[in-house]
Amino acid sequence: MKIARARAVARKEVFHILRDPFTLALALLLPLMMVTIFGIAIEFNVQNIKIAVYDGDRTQASRKLIDALGSSRYFLIDRAATQYSAIERVDAERDRAALIIDPKFEYDLLSGRGAEAQLILDGSDNSTVGSIISYFGTMQNLASEKITGEMQRPEVDLVTRFLYNPELNSKWFVVPGLMVVVLAILSILLTSLTVAREWENGSMELLLSTPAEPIEIIIGKLFPYVVLGLGAIAFVYAIARLGFGVPFLGNHLVFLLGSGLFLATYLAQGLLISVAARTQQLSMQIAMMSGFLPSMLLSGFIFPIESMPPFFRILTMLLPARWFMSISRDVFLKGSDLNDLKIPFIALACICSLMVTIAVRRFKRDVEP
């Protein structure tokens, strides 16, 4: 294999990329933009939930309860005139929950019988229901304290130490993960489209008619995209650190190694798709189905892998994004080193070499006249 020929192919690819400023801009700006926007938009700790409140008791106790709710940053009180109008607001999706306080609230409380208030939740939107329930759990004790003045002391003090993300900062959780998702998608799409385009317009055949060997063509074609991808990673890294203040406790070289492997794998996958598909439209479809959706939904980005049924847990082991997700998060937040991350790295390396091998073999096979 001659490096010189691979280099020539790479150079041509670079010209293609540079001459299409649209694609170039998107390739670099897209990850940037996504991470920025979503780093800002995504906040799991719910706040400002609109809750309809019907106070049927109108006593000091009930007012203190409503106060306790309203003064927290979690809820926005929306007073309702009747019980039914409160419930109706939840039904109509104007409010996410309704609190109905019965007329005997204070009476029951002070008589030691324990007061009850009704909480009605809109269960059709999972993004808020779980949080509301757990907040009300917290609220229970807080509100009780405020009203009765008694401290509710649990038998056992539970001291929780949240490691690596002590303040439960959503951004710290999301941003390293988002980076992985965006880059996975980008690298598959870029390669599958560009190479497919060459098949479509026939210039691939031209390339193959030269003395260049398939392996040289592949390396030459993929290399500029590796560089592009690494550039994008660098940008996103800068935003994560400087814009969001995500800590980076680990070793940069380890991260670089992981990134390189990761990119190479997805680029190879993109190549494989393009060889198999030969047209841009089909490539794009396959890339979406095998790249975009899985890396967004099955990589452990938001939905934890441990919670998936066993079959899927094993399936995700085939996904490079899943491995790089752990590497990325752990290197950023935990400061893990190669030893800690040996499993993800080995897995990634295996998948990478497998993918590249299949891509090369398929390329050769489909290309032999």
């Binding site: 998107l26 897209l30 309860l65 059709s124 009780s144 009765t148 003090d157 479809q285 919670s307 752990d330």
Partner: protein, 370 residues
């Protein structure tokens, strides 16, 4: 009465279908893949926290601790961690455990007995949602074990909230997730295919041939978009069937209304695809453009992250997003049976979006090559 259909548009539909459906792989992508994806994601995706690896620092004769661990492992939330290291921090660091219980040196049993009950837990908080759930679970297990072992009634807090969850009482995740996955799959197909198909004509030069015939702009636009609206609609029954029969997502509303909602949505997304293709020149650019729209649209639709929490700027974007409206309608129709004012208002918004997008595309479309 014979309805006269514009022959040009009919011709387009035939052509697009021939081209799209000829390749068996394309057929698979268009029909089998969405079903597969739906099934996959419906099963796999859950935000419930399970299989959390629990480890603990042993203390001699600490019955309460033992009971806590037993209880935890018996629940579906925790599994036992296989640890090789002793230090609790290292256990979490090396990813052997997700949570470690660190009782006080004298043991939990003793410390509670003395009235100084205290226990520490170390939780890997890289996943914020998971961490919060873990804390909540342990808290409740702790309370229960303590009440049992010490024969003290759990002092009921004076205020108790009786919770009723509407529309999805069992809080099953597929019921949440599946409408989201449906919306995503549909607009993925429609936007990308539509935008790439027009760009492909420009790229191969057949566009020139198209405009050399005396066709009107709206004929070309309709001709290129109708086939994809039809393709999109054909996916709906497939995906819906998976949702209802495989996942038991309730379908409490009217099927026809759902189809109407889907139709409006698909028209809007196809309009997005058209606009993208009108301003781009190559298929790759169209794909990038489509992606530029899709990625934020999926994230900002309320499917995964609550819209309420977003800062104002993002919220605005979320409300400009067609997926948001379709998702809400879908959930409303399937889970609540369909409230007319919700549906009508959302349909109106989608219709408005489609009209605006189509008008802009029309204006930018040229039947000349200037």
């Amino acid at each position: 009465m014979k309805i006269k259909i514009n022959p040009t548009i009919l011709g387009f539909i035939k052509k697009e279908f021939s081209q799209a459906l000829r390749d068996p792989r394309m057929r698979m992508m268009l029909f089998a893949a969405p079903i597969m994806q739906m099934t996959l994601f419906g099963i796999a995706l859950t935000s419930d926290v399970k299989n959390v690896r629990l480890s603990f620092q042993p203390r001699p004769n600490d019955t309460v601790l033992e009971h806590v661990v037993e209880h935890a492992l018996a629940s579906k939330w925790f599994i036992s961690a296989h640890t090789t290291r002793m230090d609790p921090f290292e256990q979490v660091q090396s990813d052997e455990a997700d949570v470690v219980i660190v009782p006080p040196p004298e043991g939990l049993t003793e410390s509670i007995g003395r009235g100084q009950g205290r226990v520490q837990i170390l939780v890997n908080a890289s996943n914020v949602i998971k961490a919060q759930s873990v804390e909540a679970y342990i808290r409740s297990i702790l309370d229960q074990v303590v009440a049992n072992d010490f024969q003290r009634g759990i002092t009921a807090p004076p205020i108790h909230f009786d919770m009723r969850i509407l529309f999805n009482p069992s809080m099953e995740t597929p019921v949440f997730m599946v409408p989201g996955v449906m919306s995503t799959l549909i607009c993925l197909i429609t936007i990308l295919l539509t935008s790439m198909s027009i760009s492909k004509e420009k790229e191969t030069g057949t566009f020139e041939m198209l405009v050399s015939a005396p066709v009107k702009i709206w004929e070309i636009m309709l001709g290129k978009t109708l086939p994809y609206v039809m393709l999109g609609m054909s996916n709906i029954p497939l995906i819906l069937a998976v949702a209802v029969f495989a996942f038991g997502v309730p379908m409490r509303g009217n099927l026809i209304i759902l189809f109407i909602a889907a139709f409006f949505f698909i028209c809007t997304t196809v309009a997005v695809g058209t606009l993208i293709s009108v301003v781009t020149k190559t298929q790759q650019q169209s794909m990038m453009g489509g992606f530029l729209f899709l990625f934020p649209a999926i994230q900002l639709s309320g499917m995964m992250f609550p819209i309420e929490n977003m800062p104002l700027g993002m919220k605005v974007l979320a409300y400009l997003n067609p997926i948001t409206y379709f998702l809400e309608m879908l959930r409303n129709i399937m889970l609540k049976g369909g409230d007319s004012h919700v549906i009508l208002s959302h349909l109106a918004v989608l219709a408005l979006m489609a009209v605006i997008l189509t008008t802009i595309s029309y204006k930018k479309f040229h039947t000349t090559l200037s």
